[in-house]
């Protein structure tokens, strides 16, 4: 066995290990998708989409209130997070050569790395402790999670627009801000929408900050200073409960949530055709 053969064998061995690693990494994805679809599909009915959370011992019921609550929370969080994120993204892309922007960019990256439970505790200390468990506190926490994602994706999207388009717009005599808001933005529209969709997918699946800021709520929306139900949080509560009906609802909710989140991710990907 000469040295050359040993090298060839080692080469093939590593190639095998690399593909084995890829296989091992993808097994959970397919297992999760399979289990959620199979177990979730059997619980889904019309009742599932129109009835609120059942009480303990009740048969049937659904997650309609959780879908409503999730939409309200996401909407409220977007109302805070999207404008701030878009403006910050514009600043970083259009006026992004100063020292300030380097620091701002870095801090957004840092914020992106802060655990969502810590952001939840922050919102708890800031809002929940003073006005109680409420959808406002949860929406605030989710908007903090959203801001760095929207900012960075907007920045990247605007940077993809060629400089010549800005120059052409300014040469026509319109102010720079107007050029940014109309011409540059419409050039980057798809990529920006992708970023927004991805950030919404991300906060739709967050449950830790929702848990500590508004807790579990079995009823319909009852005002902005009260909690609302949340799909991701319901899965946690249902899964940890000993009630059989809730356990089946957990899988149904998981199917809805995964369709929502992965659907948004795939849609975002299709929108930009792999450019992103």
């Amino acid at each position: 066995m000469d040295h050359y053969k040993f090298r060839v064998v080692k080469n093939h061995l590593v190639q095998f290990l690399v593909y084995l690693a890829l296989f091992l990494a993808l097994v959970p994805l397919f297992s999760i998708l399979y289990e959620v679809v199979v177990r979730g599909f059997s619980t889904i009915s019309i009742e599932f989409f129109i009835k609120p959370t059942p009480t303990v011992g009740e048969v049937g019921g659904g997650v309609a209130n959780a879908i409503q609550g999730t939409l309200i929370t996401i909407g409220l969080a977007s109302l805070i997070g999207v404008p701030i994120g878009l403006m910050s993204g514009i600043f970083l892309s259009e006026y992004g050569e100063s020292k300030l922007s380097v620091v701002v960019r870095f801090l957004h990256d840092v914020l992106m790395g802060i655990p969502s439970i810590v952001i939840g505790v922050f919102a708890y200390a800031l809002i929940t402790l003073s006005i109680g468990f409420s959808v406002i506190a949860a929406a605030f926490a989710l908007s903090v999670i959203m801001i760095p994602i929207v900012t960075r994706t907007t920045e990247e999207a605007l940077k993809l627009v060629p400089m010549s388009i800005r120059e052409a717009a300014i040469a026509l005599g319109i102010p720079r801000w107007k050029a940014t808001v109309t011409v540059v933005f419409s050039g980057a529209k798809k990529a920006i929408v992708t970023g927004l969709l991805l950030s919404i997918a991300r906060i739709a699946g967050e449950s830790a900050p929702v848990l500590v800021t508004m807790g579990f709520w079995r009823w319909w929306f009852a005002g902005f200073d009260r909690p609302v139900a949340n799909l991701a949080l319901d899965i946690f509560i249902f899964a940890m409960s000993p009630f059989k009906n809730w356990l089946t609802l957990a899988w149904g909710s998981a199917l809805v949530l995964i369709l929502l989140v992965l659907g948004i991710s795939v849609a975002a990907r299709v929108l930009t055709k792999g450019r992103y």
């Binding site: 990494a25 505790v121 967050e206």
Partner: protein
């Protein structure tokens, strides 16, 4: 200026004003100022976060001081003493297990996507890996409880125990959930993030490096080894980034680790607790100020651990990506 004023006495004055007007719309200044202010709100946000967490945990800091970090007792019911050392250990050990399992697999995935697979195929599989990163934490937890735990309990752990049972960490009763299960779930969750960053880092390695090795008659693996060593600081950054994600992971780990407060588990199959898990489990049930304050204090410790890890990782990844990007494009 004087000469030109003599030549175009009327025109010149107007000209300067006109040019100034052209380049200087008032709206531009306002827009730039507003965007800069909004972007700078990140300072306010992070500052407020640190301030609120310190304020919230002030009672606990005053009561326990450093004992909070080295204390090993968590007794909200009777003595009202709070020490977070077991939680910190739990977080660090489960994250370490996650890295131990996750690094080799992520490295393999990163290499497969950037070096081994044909480019078109690699893009499609990258998409699948990114989908995995988009799956919500709570669904990993649900899958962990009802699919992974039964599988590990029936098909993996018994064999592991018969093979390595003589080592203390593999002995003891098997519940299914526990330290090792928590580490495995965390590993599954960090692999997409870590391997995606590793792929990006490998893609920035200039082709001349690979060509030079191939020209020397190196095999694919020997070529790949140079690629890895060229990108090593980026690889380290990716690993630290994964560590940051593992440390802050909450829902999935809460659902599979067993949530038992003890200083050190008797084996890898025993239940334990982490910082994030205790906040998720107890913050809603905390009934008096000191208890709430202690839990916020746990959040403050977690924030600092995550900040240190993330700043380190970002600095390393940033540096490599910036230094190598220019060369790679040639």
């Amino acid at each position: 200026m004087k000469i030109s004023q003599k030549v175009f006495p009327f025109f010149c004055n107007l000209n300067i004003k006109f040019i100034l007007q052209l380049n200087h719309f008032k709206g531009d200044d306002i827009f730039k100022l507003v965007s800069a202010l909004v972007a700078s709100s990140i300072f306010l946000l992070l500052g407020l976060m640190v301030y609120e967490l310190v304020k919230g945990s002030w009672l606990s800091i005053q009561t326990f001081g450093l004992n909070f970090i080295v204390g090993t007792k968590w007794d909200p019911a009777v003595s009202k003493v709070f020490g977070a050392l077991p939680l910190i250990l739990g977080t660090l050990v489960t994250s370490a297990i996650a890295l131990l399992i996750g690094i080799p697999i992520s490295l393999g995935v990163g290499l497969a996507l950037s070096e081994y697979m044909p480019k078109k195929f690699g893009l499609a599989v990258s998409f699948l890996v990114e989908l995995l990163a988009a799956v919500p934490s709570v669904i990993y937890g649900l899958w962990g409880i009802f699919v992974l735990i039964p599988f590990l309990r029936n098909h993996v752990y018994p064999y592991l125990q018969t093979a390595f049972g003589f080592i203390p960490i593999f002995s003891g009763p098997i519940y299914g959930g526990g330290v090792l299960t928590g580490g495995i779930v965390l590993a599954i969750m960090i692999i997409p993030t870590v391997s995606a960053v590793m792929r990006d880092v490998f893609l920035t390695v200039p082709n001349s490096q690979r060509e030079a090795m191939i020209a020397l008659g190196a095999t694919k693996w020997e070529t790949t080894k140079t690629v890895i060593s060229y990108a090593r600081s980026g690889v380290i950054g990716a690993i630290i980034l994964g560590l940051g994600r593992a440390v802050g992971e909450t829902m999935a780990i809460t659902m599979v680790i067993g949530n038992k407060f003890q200083v050190w588990p008797s084996s890898l199959f025993d239940a334990w607790y982490t910082m994030a898990a205790i906040i998720a489990n107890e913050l809603l049930e905390a009934t008096y100020d000191l208890y709430i304050s202690a839990l916020i204090n746990v959040g403050l410790v977690l924030l600092f651990v995550a900040l240190i890890i993330n700043i380190l990782a970002r600095l390393i990844v940033w540096r490599t990506l910036r230094f190598t990007r220019g060369i790679a494009r040639e």
